[in-house]
Subunit: 356 residues, 2 copies
């Protein structure tokens, strides 16, 4: 539906050509936080555009909306063409993965606001669902005790918590070019010698295009939470009615060892991990008990192309007074396990001992 | 049409409720450039949000599209609530002036990217026109020799060229709190003692809501150019067919003295002024000869609430080989006049002589 040739002072998009007759528009804007600083330090900005699109498109997905088009804002101290080209090519690749058109953007050179070599990125996506055909999500009034929480694996840290990540790297004494002491995100097949900085830059998974058909295939999906800043607790809470709570069991999904490494090296309390990081789950889907297995199967089919999986990770219960809306049991244990069983790798020569 | 209560992970907008059945979406993104630095230095950020909305909404207007909703990205080193509140209230006011809904936004705290006290802003707007009812603009194939260029006054410098403006302030030796040696934007009734910095922060005029009914009232509008970075020449050129040129006469509209001051103090060539600043025109409308007077009358009616006017400023001609697409005659003279006739004011006590 996009018409980039129209050009001029903005981008156009034809909703009819995209198959919408009575659309509700859903729009989101986001940045990638201080993951940018890591990318800039590593001089590896090829994937930061994927992160940018992911942050926006996954938000729109939570409304059962298809990401239609994207615009970016790229602001820098002084334009370095190579960097800009790399960033924008990542954005274009991200848009392809998200199934949306890159119809415009703004490049701003602002000496005095950004130091030379520094830049910031903001993304903006517009999506739609068809009224009468697609269920508006979240559908809080349908959530009932016994509903299942399906967890969709993240590809790694995604794009939140990087101020803390950078502090942890500092504490660890590791250089960004040193081999990573943790396993990379499960979605990536990287050589064992992956650099710490590179591994930490694993791009955010883009679920929108892959999972939208799953969400639209049943009327039993109650809600989808995109796990961003605020972590599992902060984001899952937003899609639960105030009288319901969710109980998750961290033993039910594979937790990437990077989270164990962060918790261990940073000496972080499980609660802080939960509030800051996705802890292995990029999305949580709330669905009825009867359809959960089917939804998981469909999700796994859809996610196989990006090497991710989904799991039954918890359930909805009636919220008792003075209890948390979201509890994640056994996370401390799983954080410990995710990293500690990597110890042999560490003692076999790499950075053992000197990263405490 | 907006539904901010849905909240959660993005904002929703109902096109049907906004009166669109077969809409073409038009979207734009922009920032306010280094005008931000001036606002930060003056600690006066109440209007910078108006600038942000203006830059986006005026772009969308050029497509004959109504601005429907807006999202902002606010990124800073560390959040100062007072400043953020002031900025966002300006954005909300701008949205009201543009006739669009503020349905969401992102506030990012990024220490390390932005120094403390510094921030950047990006805006995103989505607009629409109804296919079959509203003409898509620009309509380049209809532009013919003899067509009239209507110039719509700017409120001042708007939001482009501020790196140069800041350099000129430096050269002038003026402090931002010194009384302005030039008259403020015509749209503002400010006391004579207006500070230089304040006057330079005169917010960008928002034309979208006021002029959309005018653009939609006739089928004789060929194109609208929003005069931003690149000035009159760069932006008007974009809406002319390659075999046509525009000739403007700078004596036909009132040029604010701030432009004369910039040219004089900065010792800038007229060509550089033309490429950098709007030089008094915020929009150029290309229309047929027969409707020009009527369009001007309607524009003036619509613009009276913000104290601006429109003028017949030029015409379309066949482009001769090796000539410019856009020529603005008599600008040097008008730049000189706009500022030099203010000399009496200067010699009557303020900052005479010492700002060369």
């Amino acid at each position: 539906g996009s018409n980039p040739e129209l050009g001029g002072f903005g981008g156009s998009f034809d909703l009819e050509k995209a198959g919408y007759k009575n659309p509700m528009l859903v729009s989101g804007t986001d940045g990638v936080g201080t993951k940018l600083l890591l990318a800039q330090k590593m001089k590896k900005c090829c994937d930061i555009g994927v992160d940018l699109v992911a942050m926006c498109a996954n938000d729109v997905l939570t409304h059962n909306a298809e990401s239609l088009f994207f615009l970016d804002y790229y602001a820098c101290g002084s334009l370095t063409l190579d960097v800009a080209r790399e960033v924008v090519s990542g954005i274009a690749r991200g848009c392809k993965m998200a199934g949306c058109a890159l119809i415009g953007g703004e490049t701003a050179e602002m000496p005095g606001v950004y130091p030379t070599g520094s830049y910031d990125l903001a993304g903006f996506v517009v999506g739609a669902y068809e009224k009468g055909r697609d269920r508006p999500l979240p559908c809080l009034e349908e959530v009932i005790p016994g509903d299942v929480i399906i967890g969709v694996m993240s590809s790694g840290i995604h794009s939140n918590g990087y101020s803390l990540v950078r502090r942890v790297v500092e504490i660890s004494g590791l250089e960004l070019n040193d081999p990573a002491p943790f396993e990379e995100g499960k979605s990536l097949v990287l050589p064992l010698s992956t650099k710490t900085g590179e591994s930490l830059l694993t791009p955010t998974a883009i679920y929108s295009k892959l999972l939208l058909p799953v969400l639209r295939s049943t009327n039993q999906i109650r809600a989808v939470a995109h796990i961003t800043g605020g972590g599992i607790v902060g984001n899952l809470k937003r899609v639960l009615p105030s009288n319901m709570a969710a109980i998750l069991d961290a033993r039910s999904w594979p937790l990437q060892s990077v989270f164990g490494w962060i918790a261990s090296v940073g000496n972080l309390h499980t609660d802080e991990m939960l509030k800051t990081f996705n802890c292995g789950l990029g999305l949580c889907i709330v669905t009825s008990q009867s359809t959960a297995d089917d939804v998981i199967m469909k999700c796994n089919d859809a996610l196989s192309s990006i090497n991710l999986k989904s799991y039954k990770v918890g359930k909805v219960v009636l919220k008792k007074e003075n209890t948390e809306s979201v509890a994640v049991n056994h996370l401390t244990e799983m954080l410990y396990k995710s990293y500690s069983h990597k110890t042999p790798k560490l003692t076999n020569g790499i950075a053992s001992g000197d990263h405490g």
